[in-house]
Amino acid sequence: MIEAPDISWGALAPLLLVFGAACAGILVEAFVPRALRHPVQVGLALVGTLGALAATVLLAGTREVTAVGALAVDGPALFLQATIAGLGALSVLLFAERALDPARSAFVVSAAVPAGSPRDRELATVPQVQTEVYPLATFAIGGMMLFVASNDLLVMFVALEVLSLPLYLISGLARRRRLLSQEAAVKYFLLGAFASAFFLYGLALVYGAAGSVRLSEVREAVGTDGGGALLVLGLALLVVGLLFKASVAPFHTWTPDVYQGAPTAVTAFMAACTKVAAFGAILRLLYVAFGTAEWTWRPLVYAAAIVSMVVGAVLGLTQTDLKRMLAYSSVAHAGFLLTGVIGLGAAGTGSGLPATMFYLLAYGITTLGAFAVLTLVRDGDGEASHLSQWAGLGARSPVTAAVMTLFLLALAGIPLTAGFTGKFAVFRAAIEQGAWPLTVVALLASAVAAFFYLRVVVLMYFSEPVADGPTVGVPGVPTTLVLAVTATATVALGVLPGAVLDLAERAAIFVG
């Protein structure tokens, strides 16, 4: 006799809404006439993500472990789910932009037609819109929200795949420069599958040592002595798999290529949401399962943080393409986020958890905004992302240049922007845990990184415009909305961060 498991459906409402919208999206794709599909799909994806955002707000304060211990609905899970749902809704708006591309959409009409073939050239200018990207992105958002709530390594693995598989596909769906886009998809897929194999081997070793994959039972096996070599080796492999998703150096090699090749709206989505999800899982794993034996992961995270900050800042200097530069910036920010993870401290006594959660929100909003600006500046062949093409943009389009400057300053961590508050919080948490050498490296890396952000600002305002330079498109309602929301939030989180910092502080208690 098998008893039905006890599941608290109310606490899972955010997940159910997003997955429901994704499943309905597939049906829409099959049954709704083509002319209506685009508005219906966009509406459905927005209802799912914004509904999930509202549901997390209603659930605030919930602390429970449900679905027979497989899922934890607690402060960090809800805070990060709300972040992912909000950033996901903004990404959906970016996907829905129809005014910028002359062919009405940044996504390919038929991904199955070989790139460069006569049929493909014919379709390139047809103002037809394909809508498969919306259900795929909604599934990815659902996977990410599941990822940060998983209280069980198996659920974590399934969520990892649910978020990754749609991302592999949508990074190959660009309408222009299709070869680059397909190449990005292949690279992302092969390296992503490689990394999930490591995660899975780590899961198997932890299972062998602890006899269970439930995080609470793993914690009992870990104790304070680490629980033996097998368990520590398993932890190392699990962390490698997760650091890959978070694009932490030295596991970042896919990041620049995929960020550059994927459609810019998809890059914005990946840069913002995947980072939040991956760090949510890293925090939960290290805090809930291995928090009592902090020494087991501290050296690994410490080293990865330093390598990531240095690699991201130094290689970012040499880039000539803005999308690649922002990709290296994402690697450097992953390092800064890891200083917050170091700030977790022994048994989670430090203030690293709220600091990292705030940083994730701030970074996600800023980077999403920066990539949204990139979609505006175009030449005949799509987006003009080469640095030289941005020369003198301040004279040609002052508003675009000003908004981009705001996001770049926030990424650099200049005071009165969201980036500064986030950096301050994670560095303070790291120093409280005695990791001041790490903080010194972080400050130096910030200074180096600030140079390449400011170089773009200087280029925009103090260079002569190039003769046949790119045009700045007039965005439609969706992109305008995204830019307005992200720019406002970037300033608001920098000037008046108190309320959100308090919220993160109060949410920062794991269950399980």
Partner: protein, 99 residues
């Protein structure tokens, strides 16, 4: 044979798969090496299910198989699309994106 033999065999298979991913150049072969790694994990899981006396490991192995099947669908679709364009599945030919 003791259970540790199976674990060692799985570790060897996993290593062969990992080395294969790093040295082979054909996308399909690289992908097969990833599948070899996943199957090595399955062997490990089943061995541990036996040694710890729980069924969790066997269930997880089933999950891994389903996920691997889904991964094949997505992966082959992506590799096919690039093969149709380039008439080659070599990952060295895909070199438009670098530094």
């Amino acid at each position: 044979m003791s259970l540790s033999h199976y674990l060692v065999l799985a570790a060897i298979l996993f290593t062969i798969g990992a080395v294969g991913v790093l040295v082979r150049r054909n996308a399909i072969v690289v992908f097969m090496c990833v599948e070899l790694m996943l199957n090595a994990v399955n062997l490990t899981l089943i061995t541990f299910a036996r040694s710890t006396g729980t069924v969790d490991g066997q269930i997880i192995a089933l999950f891994v198989m389903v996920v691997a099947a889904a991964e094949v669908v997505v992966g082959l679709a992506i590799i096919m699309s690039i093969y149709r364009t380039r008439r080659s599945a070599s990952i060295d030919d895909a070199n438009l994106l670098k530094y």
